[in-house]
């Protein structure tokens, strides 16, 4: 239930916005107005959402879809207008405003692949121009993305959009999480970046859903979730990604894995006219890969097999000749198995502003069905961003986002009653206990579809940021915020249902609070015209508390009464954890002629999860950025090579990763024991602890260049990085003989990731009628465990029971890489066969990495006649392997795979197909990730209806996959889900019946008034 306080806040915000949103200025003294148009330089295509500001004032506007803007109440006199838009070079125009008159200003923006003037968030007060920042910052223009495609969650926002950002989907089930890794796995325990929305740190843990793995609440593996995906992409203006310690030093003790900054949409002061946007999207989710065909070869033994009553165990083989192969594809055959899931999305937003305020309000309703009948995700989102500028020196922003999410998950992964597992393990021709089970391995759709696992989550994120600039040389920013989420997860099996036939109900109510308090100050001093010194300092306090109540009831009398109190047996539990962190920093930046920037900083942190014998930790950074193309002596050279701008940059920095809460303390836990017919209290060993525990420390050096050529028609950003993580938080499992079944964290060892990121943009065709833009993002990453404690120089990954021993952390190799024992051969070079499998060597050898080492994405956009746009995104991930457990299970356990039932099978082939390591496969793939066509109806047809823009869009996701991998989808992994859930192990990957990515087709109508 959404709390009363939150409702009051929302109501207050709504009333405030409504009351303060006049469409006309109340101030009209000694002023004029400015109107104008912004078009793209080559195609003359109007550019929407360009931010126009009157420099030195708080006045401004956003361009409409036809590129026009108007700013009222501009004080008379000469005024400088500045136009900014992600992807374009900022441009200034000087206009003279006369009393009561309307001046005009036309902008012709040039695309800028390097965008050196773009403002980015650095952790200090105020945004900084990108050219001053010594490290690479990837910016994703989400507003533009959501304008022309159906984007449902943050995973889709980040997928294949920026080099060095690897998104690995765990399953294709709606509402489930992806793994997001920046510049490779560096930690053995936590690789998830920290995420901020408008400066407020948010929770990205799972939604505390019950893992849908069957048998009530038991946790095997299974699909899980991430609170990150609860964010509504339509509310996001842009996303900035800081990929490593060199960039994230100022974010301190938890930022070694990188930082993702989400900037939501805002209104613009002075816009003075409400812009409404309404969008409706309809589509379907379809099973996008081949289905599974099962086989049975009728042998004489099968034909003869009967039970005690003389009933044939293989009726499908009766009357068939020996050697007849039966086949069946239950997923395809059974109409109750799958559907084309509906995708529905409706959103409306308004943004505007007056002289002293601006606002953005939005509402969004999403409904996404999976291909299984009990799979769906529903989301309702409301956002209000309000900015008040009471006096020139102060602006106060209040950002409020509320989401309500209702997720239903099907049984997944290696769950015995999961439909995918059942489909893969069907035995054609086998006797079944009920007709509906025919061809299915363990459960048929009519039963599997009754599984009811729901998670309802409310999330409220409130942040307020106050900028106070008392002097032109001194800026202050204070951000205070809270990210609060409250959920109710429920599993219900009414008596007779599939999961727990006796009837079972479980409810869990997690509540997560994240608090952020962040102060930053900037002092600017210009001792000479050429030299500018910027001193920044700040302090951050973050805190997270997680509380959970759990209640279960087993044995329900009937499906009519399903409260826990009515269950025969009931149980309850609660949990609580928290961490608190305090950090301080100081930074000095020297700017020389606005083209050479030297930055140095240090940050200190203390954290509640550090050991009692460890105090604060300090992280330094330094960086150099040189805009060489601005160097007078070099301008001729760059002009000769048609370079618009050319920047070299290098950065070095450190950042940390705090241990999980309570890792430092040795504890025992309460337990219970049966004593006769009674139950008494008892204790169990808990965590072994480590009082010397400190954060792991990431250190990174990166160097790169940004260059733009031929008036922005071509650009390149290239970055080399070398990231080391030291003092790794290593769960050093105590041998069981110690009696502690725990793996206390030790600061041991070092990992290294080094690689290259490349982003090439270009406009190969630039005509008045046709424009072709392309962007190629590529990254290559080499990952290695450099050193570790001598005890664990070679250790199989904990929890990887599907592929025991295959994935290992071995010094000198990538984290979680695959190793197998190769088959033994006799003196004649023939395989040795034992137990119908290949006899293997006793030692294992390296095969390959478990996560992609090469990523490439190619985005093409073709614009025809300004209004028709085609875009396509190809996504390649490669250089890695995946264990195809599903196929091994089918061949080894069920013998229903195609390999064993087609063609001539001899003993050697049979042994090969029954050997686990045979199913370790290359997992390189290329996906046609997104294809879209959008058409904007010319304004001359729509303006009579006061429609500013009317756009139709057709989008397809995951249209096709090219791969040699023989499983359903090389991208998904049953174990990735576990990883996300625990936020711990690196790269446990196994294709153990996860749902493949679905193919989504959708149609959208977008109206702007």
């Amino acid at each position: 239930m959404f709390p009363r306080e939150a409702r009051v806040i929302l109501a207050t915000v709504a009333i405030t916005v409504t009351g303060l949103a006049p469409t006309r200025s109340i101030v009209a003294q000694a002023t004029g107005a400015i109107r104008g148009t912004v078009v793209e330089a080559s195609s003359r295509r109007p550019i929407a959402d360009v931010q126009i500001v009157v420099v030195g004032s708080s006045l401004g506007a956003l361009t409409r879809s036809d590129g026009t803007f108007r700013i009222s109440n501009v004080p008379q006199g000469d005024r400088v207008l500045r136009a900014r838009r992600i992807g374009f070079t900022a441009q200034d125009r000087t206009v003279t405003v006369q009393l009561g008159q309307e001046a005009t200003a036309e902008f012709t923006l040039v695309p800028s692949p390097t965008e050196l003037e773009q403002l980015v968030i650095t952790g200090t007060a105020g945004a900084a121009e990108k050219k001053t920042v010594a490290n690479a910052v990837s910016t994703i223009d989400v507003a533009e993305l959501t304008d022309r495609q159906t984007i449902l969650n943050m995973s889709e926002v980040l997928t294949a959009k920026a080099p060095g950002v690897v998104v690995q989907a765990n399953t294709g089930t709606p509402g489930t999480a992806s793994e997001i890794v920046l510049r490779g796995y560096g930690s053995l325990t936590a690789n998830r970046p920290v995420v901020f929305i408008d400066g407020v740190r948010i929770n990205t843990d799972n939604l505390a859903n019950f893992i849908p793995s069957g048998a009530g609440t038991s946790n095997l593996s299974g699909n899980t979730t991430s609170a990150l995906d609860m964010i509504n992409p339509n509310d996001i203006e842009s996303v900035e990604v800081l990929k490593g310690p060199a960039a994230a030093t100022l974010y301190g003790a938890d930022a070694a894995a990188g930082v993702i900054q989400i900037i939501t949409k805002k209104g613009t002061r002075g816009q003075q006219q409400v812009r409404w946007n309404a969008r409706s999207e309809l589509g379907t989710n379809e099973w996008g890969v081949e289905t599974l065909t099962n086989y049975t070869t009728c042998t004489q033994a099968l034909i003869d097999a009967k039970d005690a009553a003389g009933v044939s165990l293989w009726p499908g083989c009766q009357g068939k000749a020996v050697g007849t192969v039966l086949s069946d594809d239950p997923l395809e055959r059974d109409p109750l198995a799958m559907r084309d899931g509906k995708v529905r999305r409706y959103s409306v937003s308004a943004r505007g502003g007056g002289d002293r305020f601006s606002y953005y309000v939005s509402g969004d309703a999403d409904h996404e069905e999976g291909v299984f009948y009990n799979s769906e995700n529903n989301r309702r989102a409301v956002r209000t961003n309000f900015t008040l500028n009471p006096v020139d020196a102060v602006d106060i922003a209040l950002n409020v986002g509320y989401l309500h999410n209702n997720l239903r998950l099907p049984l997944g992964d290696e769950s015995f009653n999961g439909l995918l597992l059942s489909a893969a393990r069907g035995l054609p021709g086998r006797l079944v206990t009920r007709p509906s089970l025919d061809g299915w391995g363990s459960v048929e759709p009519s039963l599997a579809n009754t599984y009811n696992n729901r998670t309802i989550t409310d999330r409220l994120t409130i942040g307020t940021t106050t900028n106070y600039n008392p002097f032109s040389w001194f800026r202050n920013r204070v951000t205070a915020g809270m990210d609060w989420s409250s959920g109710e997860a429920q599993i219900l099996s009414v008596p007779g249902q599939i999961d727990v036939p006796a009837g079972f109900i479980a409810q869990r109510t997690p509540r997560v609070f994240n608090y952020t308090l962040d102060y930053n100050g900037n002092g600017i001093w210009s001792p000479t015209h050429a030299l500018q010194l910027t001193t920044s300092f700040g302090a951050q306090v973050t805190s997270q508390q997680t509380e959970t109540l759990l209640a279960t009831g087993t044995g329900l009398a009937s499906g009519d009464q399903t409260n826990i109190g009515s269950a025969v047996s009931r149980a309850g539990d609660n949990s609580f954890s928290e961490f608190n962190s305090v950090g301080l920093y100081v930074q000095e930046q020297i700017a020389w002629h606005d083209r050479l920037f030297i930055t140095a900083a240090v940050r200190g942190d203390d954290h509640s999860s550090f050991g009692s014998d460890f105090n604060a930790v300090y992280y330094p950074k330094a960086g150099l950025s040189w805009v060489a193309s601005e160097e007078p002596a070099l301008k001729g050279i760059f002009s000769a090579i048609h370079s618009d701008n050319f920047r070299l940059r290098a950065a070095w920095g450190q950042a940390g990763r705090a241990p999980a809460p309570y890792s430092a303390i040795r504890t025992y836990g309460a337990d219970r024991v049966a004593k006769g017919t009674t139950v008494e209290g008892a204790i169990r060993t808990g965590a072994f602890g480590n009082p010397n525990l400190k954060p792991e420390k990431g250190e990174e050096i990166e160097a790169g260049l940004d260059a733009s050529f031929i008036s922005g028609r071509a650009g390149i950003e290239a970055t080399y990085y070398n990231k080391e993580m030291r003092d790794l938080l290593t769960p050093l499992a105590l041998p069981p003989s110690t009696g502690f079944a725990s793996s206390p964290l030790q600061n041991l060892g070092k990992t290294r990731n080094y690689g290259l990121e490349l982003s090439v943009t270009g406009t190969p065709v630039q005509l008045r009628t046709v424009t072709w833009d392309l962007r190629l993002n590529g990254s290559w990453n080499k990952n290695k465990l450099v050193t570790i404690d001598t005890l664990i120089t070679d250790q199989s990954l904990a929890g990887a029971s599907y592929n025991p021993g295959m994935q290992r952390n071995r010094v000198g190799f990538p984290l979680g890489a695959y190793f197998i024992a190769f088959p033994r051969k006799d003196a004649n070079g023939n395989y040795i066969i034992a137990n119908n499998t290949l006899a293997l060597e006793t030692t294992t050898q390296y095969v390959g990495a478990a996560t992609p080492t090469r990523n490439l994405s190619l985005s093409n956009t073709v614009t025809v006649f300004r209004d028709l746009r085609f875009s396509a995104l190809l996504d390649y991930q490669g250089g890695h392997w995946l264990y195809n457990h599903k196929e091994y299970d089918r061949c080894f356990t069920r013998a229903n795979c195609e390999r064993l039932n087609s063609g001539a099978i001899n003993d050697t082939l049979r042994a090969i197909y029954r050997t686990q390591s045979f199913y370790l496969e290359k997992a390189d793939f290329t996906k046609l990730r997104e294809v879209s066509v959008s058409y904007t109806v010319p304004r001359r047809y729509t303006q009579r209806a006061s429609v500013d823009a009317f756009t139709l869009t057709l989008t397809a996701h995951n249209l096709y996959t090219w791969t040699d991998y023989t499983g359903l989808d090389p991208e998904v992994s049953g174990y990735g889900a576990n990883q996300q859930r625990n936020n711990q192990s690196s790269a446990i990957r196994a294709d153990a019946y996860p749902m493949p990515q679905t193919r989504r087709m959708s149609f959208a109508i977008n109206l702007t008034f």
Partner: protein
């Protein structure tokens, strides 16, 4: 005017003097996270926690024993496994590798049970001093340590043990583990005797009676345990010596029980065999093994019968396997051939006078008394497949046959098969490890006869050889 800044500076200094220490103190508090779900280790030295510690020791062994009984039953010839997880299937094949995650759970449980018991004994002696030597709590934790060691000795090929501050030890052989177990049982016997003597000297009271009865029970538990340990180690004389010390306590019998509870709040309280054997759809994972136990036609190995009253042939479809019902070591045993389901609650037999008698019989051989005992077991539960009338010549065969029935699925079979092979060189027949193809398949049984250390022990214990 010129003096004005000074008070401001002083005021600022005063404010700073107040604010900075306050902020520091506040910061320190802020950085101390609450943890309501844990007991700090040092609190356990408080004697008010000692009963909880003893309960913890009991609570470790109680769920561990039946789980080891189950998996050792699958590993030997008592059960076969239909679980979908491939690593569980490997128990059937006797192909347990260190990385087998399922095995890791039981290995860890056995070690945890042993270590917590030993740790409790050390703690009691450290805190209580000499009074620990006549405190039944100390006697009890020693006895539980002993039984945990018996589990390790009978199932594992070898096992390291931590003692006190020594975290890492070399792997000990089964013979050494049996010796450690015997030493624990000697401690129990000694302390229980001292506790009883002290109680006897005191004035009559309910507490005194409870202590005296408890001491007798614990001593019997230790006698059976020591006899079992010496039998496993091949010291028959010692085995007989300790087994003969077991005294009937009530109804001319002695049984020491492990208890379960049907409260679902903590699954560790439940009898785990209920879900694995009689739990219903989706949970059933075992059936009676092949020809060795499926058609025994003995109430001690009860299975659901078909409409004709005969043991059913197995049908491995939709979960319709022939799972055994509750055998004699469990409270749910109903002495019929069809039997009754396991339940979540109830108890199982850990040690008994019956076992002591079997130990004496095996160690002593076919004396008239022992032949009569085995014959009484042969006729205790009429069966068409029971062995022939017991004589001196078929004594050992009958003993083994009756023993496998009386102790069906309670954690004896694996130790028995290992002992028969190691001490009697039994390599063929129903009391040997199975060989050849499994249950009509072409898959061969592996040749292993004990469980390896798990990967965690191998990888993380520097004193365990890595090859």
């Amino acid at each position: 005017m010129t003096n004005r800044p000074a008070p401001r500076v002083r005021a600022l200094a005063l404010a700073a003097a107040i604010v900075i220490p306050a902020a520091s103190a506040g910061c320190k508090d802020f950085l101390t996270a609450q943890n309501p779900a844990a007991i700090p280790a040092e609190r356990l030295d408080d004697t008010s926690f000692f009963n909880l510690v003893v309960n913890g020791v009991v609570g470790e062994l109680q769920p561990t024993w039946p789980l080891v009984a189950y998996y050792s039953g699958v590993f030997t010839d008592e059960l076969r496994n239909h679980h979908v997880f491939s690593e569980e299937i490997l128990y059937d094949r006797r192909d347990i590798q260190p990385a087998n995650g399922t095995h890791s759970l039981w290995y860890t449980a056995m070690q945890r049970s042993r270590a917590l018991a030993d740790d409790a004994a050390l703690r009691f002696k450290r805190i209580l001093g000499d009074s620990a030597n006549h405190d039944l709590r100390t006697a009890r934790v020693y006895a539980y340590a002993g039984y945990s060691l018996i589990l390790l000795a009978e199932t594992e090929c070898s096992a390291p043990l931590s003692f006190g501050d020594t975290l890492y030890s070399r792997p000990y052989t089964p013979a050494e583990l049996f010796a450690f177990a015997a030493a624990r049982f000697d401690s129990t016997i000694k302390i229980a005797a001292a506790a009883k003597a002290a109680a006897t000297a005191g004035p009559p009271s309910t507490l005194r009676t409870a202590v005296m009865n408890g001491a007798d029970s614990l001593r019997n538990l230790a006698y059976v345990g020591a006899a079992r340990a010496f039998l496993g180690a091949g010291d028959k004389a010692k085995a007989i010596e300790y087994a003969r010390l077991v005294q009937p306590i009530a109804s001319n019998n002695f049984e020491f029980r492990i208890y379960f509870n049907d409260n679902l709040a903590t699954s560790r309280l439940n009898n785990p065999l209920r879900d694995r054997m009689s739990g219903g759809a989706g949970l059933t994972s075992a059936s009676v093994s092949g020809t060795r136990f499926q058609f025994l036609d003995d109430a001690r190995v009860p299975v659901p019968l078909n409409a004709q009253g005969q043991p059913q042939a197995e049908v491995a479809t939709g979960g319709s396997w022939i799972v055994p019902n509750s055998p004699p070591s469990y409270s749910t045993f109903d002495a019929t051939k069809t039997g009754a389901d396991f339940s979540l609650g109830g108890y199982m037999r850990l040690a008994s006078l019956l076992e002591a008698q079997y130990i004496i019989a095996e160690a002593e051989g076919p004396t008239a008394e022992n032949v009569a005992f085995i014959e009484s077991r042969r006729t205790a539960f009429p069966s068409s497949t029971a062995a022939a009338v017991t004589t001196a010549s078929n004594f050992i065969d009958n003993l083994r046959d009756q023993r496998r029935r009386d102790f069906y699925l309670d954690g004896h079979r694996m130790g028995d098969l290992r002992r028969y092979r190691d001490q009697y060189n039994v390599t063929t027949g129903i009391h040997s490890w199975e060989t050849g193809s499994m249950y009509g398949t072409t898959t061969q049984f592996s040749s292993t006869m004990c469980w390896p250390l798990n990967s965690s022990e191998i990888n993380n214990n520097p004193n365990v050889p890595k090859s």
